[in-house]
């Protein structure tokens, strides 16, 4: 007598070390939920909408490097996962999503709550499965975990028809995974690594450009050692934030569209660009023909398809970032770049990140204070918008897995559910969500999830009743004709917070409130919403406009003698 597919699934999830399943039940997953009740090792976290389940699993994965798990029913449950799967796919986050499906005899009949979720998610998952026979379930679960977490990580979806969950199964978990077509290449080619060492030795003006790949392969120590040994400044992508300590003298902060001026200048002027675990996103490169025009461009990445995809690469190395950097470190000696670094220092002094630090309440000031009060010692999730860019610019991140944000897809509504996942993963850590009124309203129902789970997340909410990053785009591209960006029906977010049990609602309306209110929020031990009333007229600077090179960015107006709005 065997066990059911559902019971087997839970058993195998336990075997894979799963502690949390973020999900939402429904008719097609009744057996799975029933089996879940029996597990002593796995806790189910009931979200308010399936999109939050996948974001929470993603937050969990980003904070820990473990694979996040979410569970949804068929049809609408499954389609609600789509945005979260695409978010995880773009940012290479290891996830296993499990969906229920109508019985195999009903597939293709447009049955109630039937949807072809494997068809829908093909372009936004690393791989996906429809389990037609319960005998395949053990192999598929094992393959899914293997695929999600190895090579370039990514989400994998397993669609399990109702009758497969309830069918009896004799098979056990396979001893090992055998996938003919999937053999990631971890070790970089020795000759190429040698060539890179040679280029490094010859370079006068090197820049290291680090991305999310450094964090996913846990290579931050190696990155730091390389930067210090070869005396090269390090700039990061949005996804690479935390891969290199931003209080380090070699740190240039983030580059790109809203990057620091000195990072953008350094990349434009460098003679060697050492790209590590990045994907040359258009938000990073600006006009591609003007990107790093004087540099030999080298690229280390586990995914060969990323190499040469957007930018011509002079020296590619396919492999795991940590392993390649370890090998590289054996071959590079100490370097000094006094002239180059003093040029960079000059840029840092001439063009620091700026905002109007006057008597008005400025969001950048709030972020800066938040960074000071936490000393970078927190996990910060963000949503998408101006607040996200200011967090990337003004909060000094010093360690990996401390900045969790939707980079590639730019998913509003990501911040709070991701914080739920991160706080469950790291109960001892201070977890903060920085959000805007637009983003927050996309998934604010997850306050209920956080309340249920007793999570003391701190939500710093910039409220200007506007979609202000879109407003900023309209400022530049639509001649300040602001269309569809004003919210006139916002709730009182403080009251909203307090309508939940044991949630604190605080408000910052003026500059003097910032420090005391943030201090109270950070120390009250409760789930807290801090509403900050800010102006919708604030713009993110610098900004690289379309078809412009990174060095042609628009600076903070006061720096160029202009008027600051």
């Amino acid at each position: 007598m065997g066990i059911t597919g559902a019971q087997a699934l839970i058993k195998y999830l336990e075997k894979e070390g799963v502690k949390y399943v973020f999900g939402y039940p429904g008719g097609a997953v009744l057996a799975l939920y029933d089996a879940l009740l029996e597990s002593k090792l796995i806790k189910h976290v009931l979200v308010r909408q399936e999109q939050a389940a996948v974001h929470a699993a993603s937050g969990y994965a980003r904070a820990t490097k473990k694979t996040g798990i979410c569970l949804a029913t068929s049809g609408p449950g499954a389609t609600n996962l789509v945005t979260g799967l695409a978010t995880a796919y773009m940012d290479s986050i290891p996830l296993v999503a499990i969906t229920g499906q109508v019985g195999t005899d009903m597939i293709g009949t447009d049955a109630f709550q039937e949807v072809d979720i494997t068809g829908i998610t093909m372009p936004i998952t690393k791989h996906n499965y429809l389990v037609k026979d319960v005998k395949d379930l053990p192999r598929i679960i094992q393959e899914a975990f293997h695929i999600a977490s190895t090579g370039r990580p990514g989400p994998v979806l397993i669609d399990i028809p109702k009758n497969v969950s309830s069918a009896l199964l004799e098979e056990d978990y396979p001893a090992s995974v055998e996938l003919r077509g999937y053999k990631p290449n971890y070790k970089g080619h020795p000759a190429q690594i040698k060539n890179l060492a040679k280029l490094i030795a010859e370079a006068q003006r090197p820049v290291i450009y680090a991305g999310g790949g450094v964090i996913s392969s846990n290579a931050t120590e190696e990155l730091r050692e390389l930067a210090e040994r070869i005396n090269a400044p390090v700039t990061t992508t949005l996804m690479g934030i935390g891969s290199f300590p931003e209080d380090h003298e070699l740190s240039l902060g983030m580059l790109g569209l809203h990057g620091t001026p000195y990072a953008n200048y350094a990349v434009t002027e460098c003679d060697l660009l050492i790209s590590i675990g990045v994907r040359f996103d258009d938000r990073v490169t600006g006009a591609i023909q003007k990107f790093a025009p004087q540099a030999k461009v080298t690229h280390i990445d586990i995914d060969p398809a990323e190499i040469g995809k957007n930018v011509t690469i002079d020296l590619p190395i396919v492999g795991d970032v940590a392993l390649v950097l370890k090998d590289l470190l054996k071959r590079v000696g100490s370097q000094e770049h006094h002239t180059w670094l003093s040029q960079i220092q000059k840029w840092k002094e001439e063009h620091p990140l700026r905002y109007a630090n006057d008597d008005q309440l400025r969001p950048q000031y709030i972020i800066e204070k938040l960074g000071e009060l936490t000393r970078g010692n927190a996990i910060v999730t963000t949503d998408v918008g101006q607040h996200q860019m200011w967090t990337a610019q003004f909060y000094k991140f010093v360690g990996p897995r401390s900045f969790l944000s939707s980079g590639g897809l730019g998913t509003m509504g990501y911040g709070l559910p991701a914080a739920v996942g991160a706080q469950l993963a790291k109960p001892e850590s201070l977890v903060i969500t920085v959000t805007g009124d637009g983003s927050f309203q996309m998934n604010m129902a997850e306050l209920g999830t956080a309340v249920e789970q007793k999570l003391p997340i701190k939500i710093i909410l910039f409220n200007n009743s506007y979609l202000s990053l879109v407003r900023q785009l309209q400022h530049y591209h639509c001649d300040q004709r602001f269309s569809g960006v004003a919210f006139t029906g916002n709730p009182d977010f403080v009251q909203l917070a307090e309508s939940y049990q044991n949630v604190a609602g605080l408000r910052i309306a003026k500059k003097e409130d910032v420090e005391p209110v943030l201090q109270e929020a950070l120390s009250n031990g409760k789930l807290t919403v801090v509403e900050c009333r800010v102006s919708e007229q604030e713009l993110v600077y610098p900004v690289v406009l379309p078809n412009k090179g990174l060095n042609e960015m628009v600076h903070f107006p006061a720096d160029e003698g202009g008027r600051y709005e």
């Binding site: 372009p123 791989h127 429809l130 996938l179 003919r180 077509g181 060969p304 398809a305 190499i307 040469g308």
Partner: protein, 165 residues
């Protein structure tokens, strides 16, 4: 330039969709695609003809390789290879003109595989230019129906033997 890719894939449902979908969403154009089982029933072989410069072909190949179900990919264009396409053509063939049609069929070393009351079906194999040529030679008789397989290809000599499990 047209490239001929030989792609060994797992013989599973949905694999063709994954491949075709990848081409569609990344904006690559498939000129032709032929697929069938290999000597190993767990493996299918696809011959994909795709048009593009070296950069496009490199990306196509790398992206295809990322699919878990893709086992091996070879760009045959860079080596010596044999390629064939097959065509079935149904043409008008009143008894009076059948002789003329049969002459054309002989010239192209094709075969007549069916004779109807007023039509014949001709089968021909060859490379793309031969197939194009027979099709245009038969056009004056009035083509009723045409079906072509798309290109299949194999490298010459011992290289790139079929992948064994």
């Amino acid at each position: 330039m047209k490239h001929t890719l030989a792609v060994n894939v797992e013989n599973r449902p949905g694999v063709l969709t994954r491949i075709a979908g990848l081409f569609a969403r990344r904006g690559y154009n498939i000129d032709s695609l032929a697929v069938g089982k290999t000597d190993n029933p767990l493996i299918s072989r696809m011959t994909i003809v795709v048009d593009g410069d070296d950069r496009v072909i490199e990306q196509v190949s790398k992206q295809l390789y990322k699919l878990i179900d893709v086992i091996k990919l070879t760009d045959l264009t860079t080596e010596e290879y044999v390629d064939r396409e097959m065509i079935l053509i149904k043409v008008n063939a009143d008894p009076a003109i059948r002789g003329e049609i049969m002459q054309i069929v002989d010239i192209f070393r094709a075969r007549i595989v069916d004779i109807g009351k007023n039509t014949v079906i001709i089968e021909a194999t060859g490379d793309e230019s031969k197939i194009n040529a027979i099709e245009s030679a038969l056009r004056p008789f009035g083509i009723k129906e045409v079906v072509r397989t798309g290109r299949i290809a194999m490298s010459r000599g011992l290289k790139n033997k079929n992948y064994k499990s």
